[in-house]
């Protein structure tokens, strides 16, 4: 009976739950899905992380290569993010070049990297004007069940903290780089941006961490990226229904508490890996 109602009138079905301040999967309006993270599982990548938020699964693999620094900034390296939404994560995506959603997510990740200064590009320079590191951050969504932006940001942060770069010295006589693959060091990750996404229902109600169905039924979405000490890095609100200032403040405070949860989880995981 309930399943039939859900298919015919999905919005009414949801409204009935929201009236009671809860959602069909049993969560409250401000509750996140269970988040798990697994780092360092891909040995061919220099750094990797797999994040599962409810059913949404994103894997991030980082490969570091050498390149000449850009001409207009000879003391900087590159960080190149790329989000891939393959057909295996959801039936709405087709094979071929990245669609609109993949491009939007890639740009969002690039903005987060830029605004939060998580990696200082100057740290990636080996020899100004001649050699610098390029970090190719490839994020692949394995299972798309809503809230891809949060999962991608978390996967990227975890993978960056897992990256180990070999030591490079420039030989003065031959002017060639010499790489010592045995000696590796971690990247200097200067910030911890954590994204929190909200979906707006019927122009008034805000729910946190929407699933795929909830995103489909919502009238707007909002993503807030917070850094340590409640510093706002990035706010992503692509159209949709308007929000009052007070609602926005509520969202920001929820984002601050989420940042604490996520940082604690990430620290625990990193500790458990390095202790092995």
């Amino acid at each position: 009976m309930a399943a039939g109602f859900k298919t015919v009138e999905p919005l009414e079905y949801y409204r009935r739950f929201l009236k009671e301040n809860c959602r069909p999967d049993g969560r409250e309006l401000g509750e996140f899905r269970t988040t798990t993270v697994n780092i360092g599982s891909i040995s061919t990548a220099d750094g990797s992380a797999l994040v599962k938020q409810g059913n949404t699964t994103v894997i991030c693999g980082i490969k570091a290569e050498f390149a000449a620094p850009p001409l207009d900034a000879p003391d900087r390296g590159y960080v190149v993010p790329n989000v891939d939404l393959p057909p295996l994560c959801s039936s709405r995506f087709r094979t071929g070049p990245p669609g609109e959603e993949a491009q939007v997510t890639s740009q969002f990740i690039a903005d987060v990297l830029e605004n939060s200064q998580i990696i200082k590009k100057e740290d990636l320079c080996i020899s100004p004007g001649k050699l610098a590191w390029v970090l190719y951050c490839d994020l692949i969504c394995l299972d798309y069940d809503g809230n891809i932006l949060d999962a991608c940001t978390f996967a990227l942060l975890a993978a960056l903290k897992n990256v180990q770069l070999p030591e490079v010295t420039i030989n003065e006589e031959t002017a060639l780089a010499e790489v010592n693959l045995k000696k590796k060091s971690y990247l200097n990750v200067r910030a911890n941006p954590v994204a929190t996404s909200f979906a707006v229902f019927d122009d008034t109600l805000l729910i946190v961490d929407p699933t795929g169905e909830e995103e489909h039924l919502s009238t707007g979405t909002l993503t807030i990226v917070m850094d340590e000490e409640g510093k706002l890095c990035c706010l992503h609100k692509p159209g949709g229904s308007g929000l009052t200032g007070a609602k926005l403040q509520d969202c920001m405070s929820r984002a601050v508490s989420r940042h604490k949860e996520v940082s604690r989880l990430l620290d625990e995981v990193i500790q458990s890996v390095t202790h092995k």
Binding site: I42, I59, E65, A67, V80, L88, V134, I140, D145, V179
Partner: protein, 272 residues
């Protein structure tokens, strides 16, 4: 990449640090040529796909998802005599579309996400090997989409993808005559070349020839065969195929258990 404005631009070209490393090339260690690496298989793990499977063998990690049956694109293709067992006539049979892709971080060098000819060839190999096992006549005018994603290449990637794809099809409830099990082999060069079963990436890089066989274990029929390289005499290739088929048979019980477990999990989760 020049002209690719759908992705964030990076530098024009880049080189992997391994090119500048001072280490000598490692040689693969000697080992029993018939050893199979322990396999971890799990079906039914993606929520959005009709059927899915994850296979891990040594360092090779493959994830495969199946969606469909969906209406086939491409116009009507006339009728003909009906097949046996109430199946659709040959021209109206369903299609299997296979897509094989490697993650950019799966190999030693980063690969551009676009992929290229090799991935298309492997996708076609997957399709050719899976078609004999699937009862496509039961899905007239429909298409089944199989996508395999290689997360980490630790050797015998195509074989692992074949096995994962067959598991995913079974998990999706697609009607099949039998599972398809894949096994990789490579020929170690040297004074007395030997065929190694289930090679690691290092062994594949140092090999003179490579072979992937796909077997339907219960029917004991070969579903697919793909090989290339300097293998020497014909007898050498037949020995290799025999070795590969034995390897597939040895792998079969693990996959059976995996599907039974997945079915149990599905039964427990579904409310009656």
């Amino acid at each position: 990449m020049p002209g690719d404005h759908r992705r964030i631009r990076g530098p024009e070209e880049s080189q992997p640090p391994q090119l500048y490393a001072a280490d000598e090339d490692e040689l693969p260690a000697a080992r029993d040529p018939t050893r199979l690496r322990p396999v971890y298989a799990r079906a039914g793990l993606l929520s959005q796909a009709k059927g899915s499977a994850y296979l891990e063998a040594g360092g090779t990690k493959v994830l495969c998802a199946v969606s469909g049956p969906r209406q086939a694109e491409g116009g009507e293709r006339g009728g003909g005599p009906a097949g046996a067992g109430g199946e659709a006539p040959a021209a109206l049979r369903g299609r299997l579309l296979c897509d094989f892709r490697r993650a950019p971080f799966s190999g030693r060098r980063r690969r551009a996400p676009q992929g290229g000819g090799e991935e298309r060839e492997l996708g076609l190999a997957l399709q050719e090997a899976l078609e004999p096992a699937v009862r496509l006549g039961r899905y007239p005018r429909a298409q089944l989409e199989v996508s395999a994603l290689l997360l980490e290449d630790g050797g015998s990637a195509l074989a692992a993808a074949l096995t994962a794809a067959a598991l995913a099809l079974a998990d999706a409830g697609v009607e099949m005559y039998d599972l398809v099990v894949g096994c990789g082999l490579s020929l170690a060069p040297g004074p007395s070349p030997t065929w190694l079963l289930d090679p690691t990436r290092l062994e594949e890089e140092h090999s003179a020839a490579g072979l992937t066989v796909a077997l339907m274990p219960v029917l004991n029929q070969v579903a697919g065969l793909l090989g290339s390289g300097e293998g020497g005499q014909t007898e050498s290739w037949t020995d290799a195929v025999r070795l590969g088929l034995e390897g597939c048979q040895r792998l079969y019980p693990v996959l059976q258990q995996c599907l039974v477990r997945a079915a149990r999990r599905r039964g427990a989760a579904a409310p009656s």
